[in-house]
């Protein structure tokens, strides 16, 4: 059977989520949206919303605390799967493509993608390998420094974390969940609800224009919303640094870099989170991985897999640290 593309699978997953939310609304199940999804008294509450509600009300809310702890533990266990598989923003951001990759990002991007696209089969790969026969550079390319399996990731504090802090401080001062006002996830479902009420109850409102406008503004003005702004992602990244399951793993005997010394950077280019599986020292932390599997799809020789459990043994005959 032909393997489905990861982006197709993700679209199906998101479609299922949307369908579930809309069906819950249509059939009066009271299941809610991604801000809080549940049945009767059992709820999974948005971790950021939970924190905001606790901070804003300055009261101990048992349901909220339990949901928060469980969801953060789930993030630690499974990583940031929410971002790639459930969050509608990761799908919508494709409609607003940003500028092309910033030039001078350190790697020979052009050569890499050329190698990646041309070396689908053996002969082409060999040809590229022969041209890069200079021993020194070849060793440099072959040298791989993957993130050690089974070890927790480091946390890199960036703009998202500052926005998370700002949102919580602001929430504490003003006494209401501030980020929820502009959260593109919440606004997506609010837009759906607004359209539903327009057709169901003939109830027009400015929400029909304002909510989508805010989402578009956010995705267009802050092009890399998920990487630079999203405080929910920031909160999750704090926990996902503990994640060791389901990490991307390069089969070094198949990878063009490590086995043949070809300067292929297809996996790095494909990664929205800018994780470089071959250079743990210069890469974004592996804890930022959202398990979107784009790297696996981009790899011309299908060398990247996502084993559920970390395997510690290094591939034979390949230079690798530890």
């Amino acid at each position: 059977m032909k393997r489905m593309k990861a982006s197709t699978l993700r679209a199906l997953a998101l479609g299922a989520v949307l369908l579930l939310v809309v069906a819950g609304g249509v059939f009066k199940a009271g299941t809610g949206s991604l801000s809080m999804f549940g049945y009767k008294t059992i709820s999974a509450i948005c971790p950021l919303g939970s924190l905001e509600a606790l901070v804003a009300s300055k009261t101990f809310l048992p349901h909220v605390v339990i949901s928060l702890v469980l969801l953060l533990l789930a993030t630690a266990l499974l990583g940031r799967i929410f971002c790639a598989w459930i969050c509608p923003v990761s799908a919508m951001r494709k409609w607003f493509p940003g500028r092309k990759k910033a030039p001078g990002s350190g790697d020979s991007a052009g050569a890499g993608s050329a190698a990646a696209s041309s070396s689908g089969g053996g002969p082409a790969a060999d040809a590229v390998a022969e041209t890069a026969e200079t021993p020194g550079t070849d060793e440099d390319i072959r040298h791989s420094n993957p993130y050690p399996a089974g070890r927790v990731s480091n946390v890199k504090v960036d703009s998202r974390h500052w926005i998370l802090g700002g949102a919580l401080v602001s929430t504490a001062i003003f006494g209401f969940p501030v980020f929820c006002l502009i959260c593109p996830v919440g606004l997506t479902f609010a837009t759906i609800a607004a359209f539903w009420r327009l057709f169901d109850l003939n109830e027009p409102s400015w929400a029909l224009l304002i909510f989508p406008a805010i989402i578009i503004l956010e995705l267009v003005v802050f092009r890399k919303w998920c990487r630079k702004i999203c405080p929910l992602g920031a909160l999750m990244s704090l926990m996902s640094s503990l994640n060791i399951l389901n990490r991307p793993k390069v089969d070094e005997s198949a990878c063009l870099r490590t086995s043949q010394g070809i300067d292929c950077t297809a996996c790095k280019q494909a990664c929205y989170e800018e994780i470089d599986l071959h250079h743990a020292d210069t890469s974004e932390p592996i804890g930022e991985c959202t398990k979107c599997r784009e790297c696996s799809d981009a790899c011309p020789v299908h060398a990247i897999s996502f084993p559920f459990l970390p395997k510690k043994k290094p591939a034979p005959g390949v230079v690798s640290e530890e």
């Binding site: 801000s35 549940g38 009767k40 509600a53 009300s57 401080v169 602001s170 501030v178 006002l181």
Partner: protein, 191 residues
């Protein structure tokens, strides 16, 4: 973020009719995550969503829309509100017209006000729709058979506003206000 919070706090917001248990507005707005669960679970459909035009802060929060239904105090909205924005309240079972009704003991959504310039009974002829449906006997008739609200008995369930036929029978009046309307308690006290 601080600016956004400041703008949200600074912009004026009117009194809104919240679902039962959400009457303490400060506490409500601090916990409501705008998740849509209470609106979706409401069996009568009376819970609607505030629009951006109801206030920047209030947009997407639940409000009572008595043109779409009435509150039967079934507790379903407070049950699904895990964030605690809608707090549980106490009801006592009673009967009205051989049907069981729940009488809230510690919560009042709002208070019904008769618009004497619009109400059919007050301006025209006899109309007893609202009086007949009030499960809490908060509506009585004066000596000219016009509806009068007993503010101490009214819980703001809104069934009188829901049933009021004014906009159908006298649609030529225009406007969106019916002959009787549930208003937030603060506004009624200020009248």
């Amino acid at each position: 973020m601080l600016g956004l919070g400041g703008v949200g706090a600074a912009l004026p917001s009117g009194n809104l009719l919240r679902p039962p248990g959400g009457q303490d507005e400060g506490s409500f707005i601090s916990k409501c995550l705008k998740c849509d669960r209470c609106r979706s679970v409401c069996p009568t459909g009376v819970i609607g969503l505030a629009h951006p035009e109801d206030g920047f802060l209030a947009a997407r929060t639940p409000v009572m829309k008595f043109h779409d239904g009435e509150c039967v105090f079934c507790h379903k909205c407070t049950e699904v509100c895990s964030a605690g924005a809608l707090t549980p309240y106490v009801t006592e079972a009673s009967t009205f017209n051989d049907k069981e009704v729940l009488v809230p003991e510690d919560v009042v959504i709002g208070i019904a006000v008769v618009h004497k310039d619009r109400c059919i009974a007050w301006t025209h002829a006899i109309c007893e729709y609202c009086k007949d449906v009030c499960p809490y006997e908060a509506l009585s008739r004066d000596e000219q058979d016009r509806p009068v609200v007993d503010e101490t008995k009214c819980n703001g369930c809104g069934i009188c506003e829901y049933i009021c036929p004014l906009l159908s029978l006298r649609s030529y009046l225009g406007g969106r206000t019916r002959g009787i309307e549930v208003l937030p308690t603060e506004e009624v006290e200020a009248l």
